[in-house]
Amino acid sequence: MANTMHIYGARYEMMSLEEIKRRLPIFEPSADTRMPIVGGVYQPDATMVRHDAVAWGFARSADSRGVDIIQNCEVTGILRNGSGVTGVETTRGTIKAKKVGMAVAGHGSVVAAMAGLRLPIVTQPLQAWVSEPIKPVLDEIVVIRNYFGTYLMQSDKGEIVIGQGCDPYSSYAQRGTFPIIENATSAMLEIFPRFKRLKLLRHWAGMLDMTYDGSPIISKTDIPGFYIDVAGSGGFKTTPIAAKTHAHLIATDQPHKLTRDLGLNRFGTGHLVVEGGVSANH
């Protein structure tokens, strides 16, 4: 993974145990911890962004360019004729369109089914937990690459934000279940024992559409004019580039050069895209 980052131009530095302790004073694994940390990798350019600010930034910019953003308007059907897509049915009426792009993370199969399509995805929960605000103790985003893969960071409000892998079954419940909570917090507490008394205030799970290779599907479909942008394990981090390449596909009817290999047909041809950083879980 570190070598892959290096090849693509991201800086990384190997860290000894002593260097980890220097950067993270709260890193205090006990001598008999079950899975000892032996070292780490540091990416100096990594940072956190305010995700809601990014979403609002895109929304304002799209709005200023004449895009109609219609809220509280659920798509209930996708209209087609012999030539392709003709529009969508919604809870607020019919919208005719020669082109329809779908980007409904978590409900990819539900919406694609309105067009008669089945997709090579499973929807799984991804839980997150947010603690009470505490004084600054964590400058960095930490990913614990032992068996459990817990990751955590401290928000600018002082909350510790914790996440892990998907619950390993299909679900639209938006909450996940206890085994993942136990795995995530036990991995975190093995190396940050002073978090044992941290109170968790908020908990939820997103719905992740997971492909078999963990890579996104940004693609035309068998229905002319119907384009899909679904799955991929990059999360919020990859939404801007997914949006850009999806927009390119819709506007030109051709894939962007970055997403040429991410078509729906790759499963039939066997050209699955399994990259080092993805988190496919099944």
């Binding site: 199969s109 089945r118 995805i121 679900s171 419940a173 279940t177 085994p179």
Partner: protein, 88 residues
Amino acid sequence: MMLVSCPWCGPRNEDEFTWGGEASRVRPDDPSELTDGQWTDYMYNNDNEKGWVVERWWHAKGCEQWFEICRNNVTHEIASTGTDGETS
């Protein structure tokens, strides 16, 4: 914690099991008679429905048997477990 009733072992914690996908996926009797598209559809495409689904589960850390459950994947309620269908 979902309590999954293994038909042989009784109700056990969900982390003793491995989720085995949709029960509607049935291996074709003769794969060589399928087109590439039909084979791809069998291998990869899912209904991935929201609501009541019938799935296969494997008691990986118990009796290691396969069985089917009828579960609501919005509420996680489990209606029934059984050994009907393609599982063995």
